[in-house]
């Protein structure tokens, strides 16, 4: 009879499942709120050493594995 107390309330299950589903629906770009700052700071750091033409940050999900892939495009004639 104590099963009732051990069981998680379904509303909180719903919240977790929804948050994950909606995140993946929305796609990569709005997933991390810090993405724009991250871009700016990386560009600043790399620029100390070499000219930067652009930057692209992607969130990648592979099963339970989550990663950020960062591509920094350099200027041609350096």
């Amino acid at each position: 009879m104590f099963d009732f107390w051990r069981k998680r309330k379904s509303a909180s299950v719903a919240k977790d499942r929804l948050s994950i589903a909606i995140m993946s629906d929305r796609g990569c770009k709005d997933i991390y709120p810090f993405m724009d700052n991250l871009k700016k700071e990386i560009v600043e750091v790399v620029r100390k050493y070499v000219g930067v033409r652009g930057i692209e940050i992607k969130k990648e999900i592979d099963g339970s594995f989550e990663a950020i892939s960062i591509d920094v495009f350099l200027e041609k004639d350096r």
Partner: protein
């Protein structure tokens, strides 16, 4: 010049048309000239909820095609002089809509009314896109249930990318109505709280509407539930309408049951 509000949901059956009928009437009862427009071509329903199904002569497509003037097609509400209704076409296909025609119609409505409320079709296809295209604001209706909330988020995403206001560098105001809240279930943790829904969707709340059997009774009769003084949903729509008209009305906590209120009170005296 008026304000154009698109009422959207993503998922069907969450109470969008009921919301349009009640908010339209509610806004009109606040003394504003209001037009409610059924954009659900091929599935006309707003006429039934308003009890005006026998008065439809011309529809939205005939107005857009110049077969009737807007004035001819607008139907006066039986209960409030400030409210007018424009019916959807029942026979035509929703593909008859195009941006130019929609823009012209929306502009004419905007010039003649304080509030123009558009009832969007469910889904996120062309009919939906035309409804949101020239809107100044959107009201998103959800039920506290996973599929409704997920679909609403998709609809909001499309709103943010396809709206003309956004394309012009502006922003569409977005407001959420959470419909069909069952207080007992929220209290026992079996239904999502409105705070959780707001966290997930990240938009402003304009009202919470409790589950109420009076809504079906009202639609059976073609008398919007806002006219029923004893209906808790009707009261909720009254509050939301007043907010839309710029009045400051406190958010009533429809998620609290009488028994949980009692527990809170008892807690104070412990």
């Amino acid at each position: 010049m008026g304000i154009v509000i698109a009422v959207i949901s993503g998922k069907g059956g969450v109470g969008k048309t009921t919301a349009v009928a009640n908010l339209g009437l509610g806004v009109a009862m606040n003394g504003k000239r209001c037009a409610v427009v059924d954009f659900d071509i091929g599935q006309r329903n707003l006429d039934m909820i308003l009890g005006l199904e026998n008065r439809v002569v011309y529809d939205i497509v005939q107005v857009m095609d110049g077969e009737a003037s807007l004035k001819q097609a607008l139907i006066k509400s039986k209960v409030d002089d400030n409210l007018r209704f424009l019916a959807a076409s029942q026979s035509k296909d929703k593909r008859v809509l195009n941006s130019k025609k929609v823009q012209k119609l929306v502009k004419e409505l905007k010039d003649n009314f304080d509030y123009v409320i558009l009832d969007s079709p469910a889904g996120i296809e062309s009919g939906f896109e035309h409804t949101i295209e020239f809107a100044d604001a959107a009201i998103i209706v959800v039920n506290p249930e996973v599929s409704s909330i997920r679909d609403a988020d998709r609809a909001i995403g499309i709103l943010d990318s396809k709206s003309q206001k956004v394309k012009d560098g502006g922003e569409v105001a977005k407001y959420l109505i959470i419909n069909r809240i069952v207080a007992d279930m929220v209290q026992s943790g079996e239904m999502l709280k409105s705070d959780d829904i707001l966290d997930i969707l990240n938009i402003k709340l304009v009202g919470k509407v409790p589950e109420d059997s009076g809504v079906i009774d009202a639609s059976n009769q073609g008398k919007p539930v806002i006219l029923d003084k004893h209906s808790i949903a009707g009261q909720a729509y009254k509050r939301i309408s007043a907010r839309l008209c710029g009045k400051k009305i406190d958010m009533k906590d429809v998620e609290v049951t009488d028994s949980s209120l009692f527990k809170k009170l008892a807690g104070i005296f412990k």
